[in-house]
């Protein structure tokens, strides 16, 4: 029975609940849970439309429809609702008359389920009359979806719309955005001030705050003119830290980690090479087709090298249970689970389609069939996860020889891929060849037959080429949306990895197409798109703010009415402030304190985690560290990602859990975040370093130290009011310390440390406007 139960779990795991539940949910549930799986598993091989098609139907009985069961076979009705004695099915199951299934009596509990079901009226939600179409046939019209679903259409090339307020328009993006605003009678916000814009651009492109020098430079000019702003963007785009920022977005999608996750959470000593490959690819602004091909088919390209082999790590990043993979059938199933991770991740990341749902049955929302799923799986079915030693060029002499996990093919001998009914290896169906999902192409993509001496099948390369082709509108829409999402905190499509029928619709479809077209026009490079977006008026708007201080509910309500038309700012009438992501927050702290070590690349670092937290982890423990130093003070993208023990600061600020591809981070606000920022030694240490830096720079002048502190953390010239408050605070704290009879210098240092600590916790530091 256990197999059947597992199947059931697989069947149900992807069903959309609203569709699965009919008029009588409880009865539907009982049927789906207790009755249908048994019929499918034990009876269909001889009593289904499919069996009839194969001329294997026995005694004329069909159990794959309500009608079939009620009508019965040669001997009479199999099921008579409410009448156990008249229902031949029961006698057969009990082996009283026929002995069904012939292989052996089913457990008493199963027979009891059937009796219960018939007694209560044999509720059977299956509407399909026998023979009309296969039970698991497509319920959604694929051709129609191909014709009609927005995401599957070619890019529209309509000219950008006309707008009234032409003065606001800096480039075509603004036309699309403003036209939608004007249609609702809304107007855009003013431009952000130069300090805000500079800080926003820094965090967006390189994930680091502007330096003090940069802030001072901004302060010297009254406005950031277009040329200076464009030059700033060029500088940031050319910075090696750009890849560390945008590569991290990709690593979220690629479910990157340095350990395996399950069971003992085994170390993956060379996983970081994939991370570095990604960072470097973004820095080079590698054309997207090439980036796709290297990750999916790095071993099949014309020029295979260490970097392209490392890139195939994309397929090995998911959690795995290699230390406990099981034996026999369990191991075969484990292999399919790993392949499923590759197929599902590839599909959501590049295509924005949740094809993983079609592993056990046709997708219930999207026009994707099980055949589509297994055809996609066939593309990867010949691959193996292997550890291959790198050539000397990549190895550094001091490093021990280590293999890197790659997803490659070792032979062109094709392993036959079969559709597995209900995802179950016990029920292999028809053999399928490699193919891309039917709904995405009007003519099938041809996959080559490998020549006898070929080293691989060439299937992944062909697939990658199809994905990256400039005609593949869906792939470029998904990419353009991801770029937009990281600039505005939300994609034009709010479900960035689901562009299917169940995903969100784009708020500005023509704009999305325009952006996708821009990437294609630049040969799959995205740096030009960043610049286009960031030089628009849309991007340069200020966040909503008021100067009013006194608060009453009436005033709050009055303010709210302005926003009732578009409370979620979908039309982008202002800039939505965003909380810094976990890595950016930590990097900004280190940057302000002056401790950030900008060394790039290499094995993951392991900053201090408190001992009492380490003890809850299993094997491969995190090292205990008393004091952090420059080796730990590197950018957070280089922190070793241990699946069973994420860095608390990262985890609490919503770093991805790495079990699946993460298209969108949460931005939660919980008290435990406050606790870690208030009480973690790391923050306190860095506050002390920042205080030391400030006092040294200002030669002990508290007012100057305070001004610089506010500039460094908030990235702007502070208001006189804030300076006064901060100076008063520092003096008050200093007096309090002097009571403890410590030296004035020490007291001053402690007092400024307190201020620095407040600043690291302040919303103006933790948020970017």
């Amino acid at each position: 029975m256990s197999t059947a139960r597992i199947c059931l779990l697989l069947i149900v795991s992807c069903l959309p609940l609203n569709l699965a539940v009919g008029a009588d949910p409880a009865a539907d549930m009982f049927f789906e849970q207790k009755i249908r799986p048994v019929l499918v598993e034990h009876c269909y091989s001889c009593h289904s439309t499919e069996a009839a098609a194969k001329k294997q139907l026995k005694s004329g009985l069909l159990v794959d429809s309500r009608e079939g069961l009620r009508r019965g076979g040669d001997s009479g009705p199999a099921v008579v609702p409410g009448d156990l004695d008249a229902s031949l099915l029961i006698a057969a199951l009990k082996h009283d008359s026929f002995k069904m299934p012939p292989s052996g009596k089913l457990p008493a509990s199963v027979i009891a389920d059937f009796e219960h079901w018939i007694k209560l009226g044999a509720h059977d939600p299956r509407e399909t009359p026998a023979g009309a179409k296969p039970v698991h046939g497509p319920s959604i019209d694929i051709d129609r979806a191909r014709r009609e679903h927005w995401a599957f259409q070619p890019l529209s090339s309509s000219p950008p719309p006309e707008v009234k307020n032409r003065a606001w328009v800096l480039n075509d993006i603004d036309r699309y955005i403003l036209a939608a605003m004007e249609a609702q009678g809304l107007t855009p916000a003013a431009s952000a001030d130069p300090f805000v814009l500079t800080r926003r651009a820094h965090f967006d492109l390189i994930g680091l705050p502007p330096s003090l020098a940069e802030i001072e430079r901004v302060g010297q000019t009254s406005a950031l003119d277009d040329a200076a702003y464009a030059a700033l963007l060029d500088r940031l785009l050319a910075s090696p830290h750009y890849g560390e920022r945008w590569g991290r977005h990709w690593l979220d999608l690629a479910r990157y980690a340095d350990s395996s996750g399950f069971h003992s959470d085994l170390d993956r000593p060379n996983a970081w090479r994939y991370r570095d490959y990604v960072i470097e690819s973004f820095n080079q602004d590698k054309p997207y087709p090439q980036f796709i091909a290297e990750q999916l088919a790095g071993d099949e390209l014309d020029k295979v090298n260490d970097q392209t082999r490392i890139a195939t790590g994309f397929g090995c990043n998911g959690p795995s249970n290699d230390d406990n993979a099981g034996t026999g059938k369990a191991k075969l199933k484990y292999r399919l689970d790993l392949l499923d991770d590759v197929v599902s991740t590839t599909s959501t990341v590049f295509l924005g389609l949740t094809i993983g749902c079609a592993r056990c049955h046709d997708h219930k929302i999207d026009p994707l069939t099980s055949v589509d799923y297994y055809s996609l799986l066939a593309i990867f079915d010949n691959t193996e996860r292997v550890g291959v030693s790198l050539t000397k060029a990549v190895k550094k002499s001091t490093e021990p020889p280590a293999a890197i996990q790659q997803l490659i093919e070792k032979s062109s001998q094709v392993r036959p891929t079969r559709v597995l009914r209900r995802g179950n290896i016990d029920f292999p169906g028809d053999e399928v060849g490699p193919a891309v999902p039917t709904v995405l192409v009007s003519r099938p993509v041809t996959f080559p037959t490998p020549s006898a001496d070929a080293s691989t099948t060439g299937r992944r390369r062909q697939f990658a080429e199809w994905l990256g082709s400039p005609d593949n509108a869906l792939v470029y829409r998904v990419l353009a949306n991801r770029v937009w999402q990281h600039h505005f905190g939300r994609g034009l499509v709010a479900t960035p990895s689901n562009f299917g029928l169940g995903g969100a619709k784009p708020t500005h479809p023509e704009l999305l197409d325009y952006l996708a077209g821009q990437i294609i026009a630049h040969g799959g490079r995205i740096k030009p798109l960043h610049k286009l977006i960031m030089t628009s008026s849309t991007y340069r708007q200020k966040a909503e703010s008021r100067k009013l201080k006194a608060e009453t509910d009436t005033q709050l309500s009055a303010f709210s009415s302005q926003h009732s038309t578009d409370p979620d700012n979908l039309l982008l009438t202002r800039f939505t402030p965003r909380r810094l992501e976990a890595e950016v927050l930590r990097d900004a702290v280190l940057s302000a304190s002056g401790n950030l070590n900008l060394r790039s690349g290499g094995p993951g670092i392991k900053p201090r985690i408190r001992n009492d937290l380490i003890t809850t982890s299993q094997r491969n423990k995190w090292p205990e560290l008393k004091q952090e130093g420059p080796n730990e003070w590197r950018r957070s993208v280089y922190i070793y990602v241990k699946r069973q023990l994420l860095m608390p600061l990262m985890e609490l600020f919503d770093a991805p859990t790495t079990t699946d591809s993460c298209p969108e981070r949460m931005s939660s606000v919980v008290p435990t975040q406050a606790l870690v920022l208030m009480n973690d030694e790391f923050i306190d240490d860095q506050a002390r370093y920042l205080a030391r830096r400030l006092l040294a720079d200002s030669r002990g002048d508290v007012r100057r130290a305070v001004e610089r502190a506010l500039q460094l953390t908030w990235g702007k010239r502070p208001s006189p009011e804030r300076i006064e408050q901060a100076v008063a605070f520092v003096n008050e704290r200093k007096q309090a310390y002097l009571v403890d009879k410590i030296s004035p210098d020490d007291a001053r240092h402690r007092a400024v440390t307190d201020l620095a600590h407040v600043l690291f916790n302040s919303s103006e530091f933790v948020y970017v406007e």
Binding site: L15, A26, M29, Q33, E551, R610, T659, A736, D754, S763
Partner: protein, 481 residues
């Protein structure tokens, strides 16, 4: 719970008089949390807290849950489900065991009799092994479910399934669903707390109490039973409390100003409130784990004066204190790490279960009695069980293998009809054969007791409505009083 409303008012008064330090927005948040502002339309600047208390679908029988998780897999045939036939077949093959029922290849079809004696207890006359002398006195409160089965014979997936309904990582667990559904009754403590065994965390670590795709607010927070209960609860040693207060005063002033200047960004106001809560958590959570305040007879009752039972006893006593203070869901692990340190008795069933029973027997009995005396048992659902059971046949001579095909769990309190045995395994305790209970059935029933129709408690993620029970699960009304 009756004191809740007045406590809210006290806090409101307190905040109204507290002045600028903690702002009006924090106040608003707290009022909303208490449902006092819920009916009003929310102007910008108010926050919809993820943990604001919410009404379930129908009147709940249980308001909180204590899940006593016997990690590693406790044996059904040695503790709750006596099988004379197994004893009769000792050393011989049993007819119901098939080769594929084994997890380890070293497990062969050789029956292993239980080393323990059973006796009937309570008015209901329920069989309990001699290893649970104290717990045996509570059987009239227990619904002993002998027919549970799950879908994996390995710890990692079975733990995921028992916790989240799904065999792989990535889904929110039962505690997340409960707190997502009901919110929290506590201002100063996390809604969902996990207490670990002194041996460490189980396999999968924190992924067992993950919020999956839900917001982090629904994640289980691990509490330690001594010292600092939550990570980062106290400032570093060199930071005094007056220093911290001074920092917070300026911080809250600035953060409140900033939130007011950006009234459309509710998360900024939420930040102000979160510091307020964090600050109070420092005192309240510390108070909660300080068992010194418990009278000596309570400490004795929970087994705190005994070397073997003191660890689990502390955790169970703390679970009661957490529930008392409004925490929604507490999961207490018995057994940690791997192998003999958990209930994973591959080598020696007798030694293993004698130890873990001795660690837990007295504390659990004390918990049930204590909850009852305080009038809390009616509203607190207590669940006992592991991720699976153990094989009736021997592994390595006197050990037992993993066994998902039929095992025992029990529930008490929170609307459960005690003093009953539900379902049955076959004559050898091998497969659940009568009234089989799947993990989704179990989850569906727990949600039902908390006031939810498990088919309607959904969370939308990536364009799809997810359920704890997916499309499976049936509420088992026979368990409910």
């Amino acid at each position: 719970m009756s004191s809740k409303h007045s406590a809210a008012l006290d806090r409101r008064q307190l905040l109204q008089t507290a002045g600028g330090g903690f702002g009006a927005l924090a106040l608003r948040w707290l009022l909303e949390r208490d449902g006092l502002l819920a009916a009003e339309s929310s102007p910008p600047g108010t926050i919809s807290s993820p943990l604001a208390p919410r009404a379930p679908h129908f009147a709940p029988r249980a308001k909180s849950v204590i899940f006593l998780f016997m990690y590693g897999g406790p044996s059904q045939v040695d503790l709750w489900d006596p099988k004379p036939e197994l004893t009769r077949f000792d050393g011989k093959a049993i007819p119901v065991f098939k080769a594929e029922d084994a997890f380890n290849s070293s497990t062969k079809n050789v029956a292993l009799r239980t080393p323990f004696r059973f006796r009937k207890h309570g008015q209901a006359g329920i069989d309990v092994a001699e290893t649970f002398p104290e717990l045996a006195k509570c059987v009239d409160d227990l619904c002993v479910i002998r027919s549970v089965h799950c879908e994996s014979n390995n710890h990692a997936p079975a733990l995921f399934q028992m916790n989240s309904g799904f065999l792989q990582a990535g889904r929110p667990c039962l505690g997340s669903w409960a707190t997502y559904g009901l919110g929290s009754e506590s201002d100063n403590l996390p809604a969902f707390v996990v207490l670990l065994d002194h041996q460490g965390a189980p396999i999968n670590g924190a992924m067992n109490w993950s919020n999956g795709f839900m917001p982090a607010a629904y994640q289980g927070v691990t509490f330690r039973s001594s010292g600092e209960p939550i990570a980062y609860l106290k400032p570093p040693k060199n930071v005094s409390s007056s220093q911290q207060q001074a920092r917070l005063k300026l911080l809250q002033q600035w953060n409140t100003d900033y939130a007011l200047r950006h009234p459309t960004e509710s998360s900024l106001a939420a930040r102000v409130a979160s510091y307020e809560l964090a600050y109070r958590m420092q005192t309240d959570a510390a108070e909660c784990v300080n068992l010194d305040n418990e009278p000596e007879w309570i400490r004795e009752r929970y087994g705190l004066n005994n070397k073997v039972s003191q660890f689990f006893g502390r955790n169970v006593l703390m679970a009661r204190r957490l529930i008392e203070r409004g925490v929604r869901f507490v999961q207490v692990y018995s057994g940690g790490n791997e192998g003999p340190r958990a209930w994973d008795a591959h080598d020696d069933i007798k030694a293993n279960h004698e130890l873990h029973c001795a660690e837990t027997d007295r504390p659990i009995a004390a918990l049930l009695a204590d909850l009852k005396e305080r009038g809390m048992l009616d509203e607190t659902l207590v669940i006992w069980g592991g991720e699976f059971g153990r094989s009736p046949v021997a592994q390595a001579g006197k050990g037992r293998d993993h066994h998902p095909h039929g095992f025992t769990m029990w529930m008490a309190g929170g609307g459960i009809k005690g003093g009953q045995v539900y379902g049955a395994t076959d004559d050898f305790g091998c497969h659940a054969v009568e009234k089989r209970v799947s993990v989704p059935d179990l989850h569906a029933t727990v949600l039902h007791l908390l006031g939810f129709d498990h088919t309607r408690l959904t969370y939308r993620h990536s364009g799809r409505d997810y359920r704890l029970t997916d499309v499976a699960g049936q509420v088992i009304h026979d368990w409910i009083a």
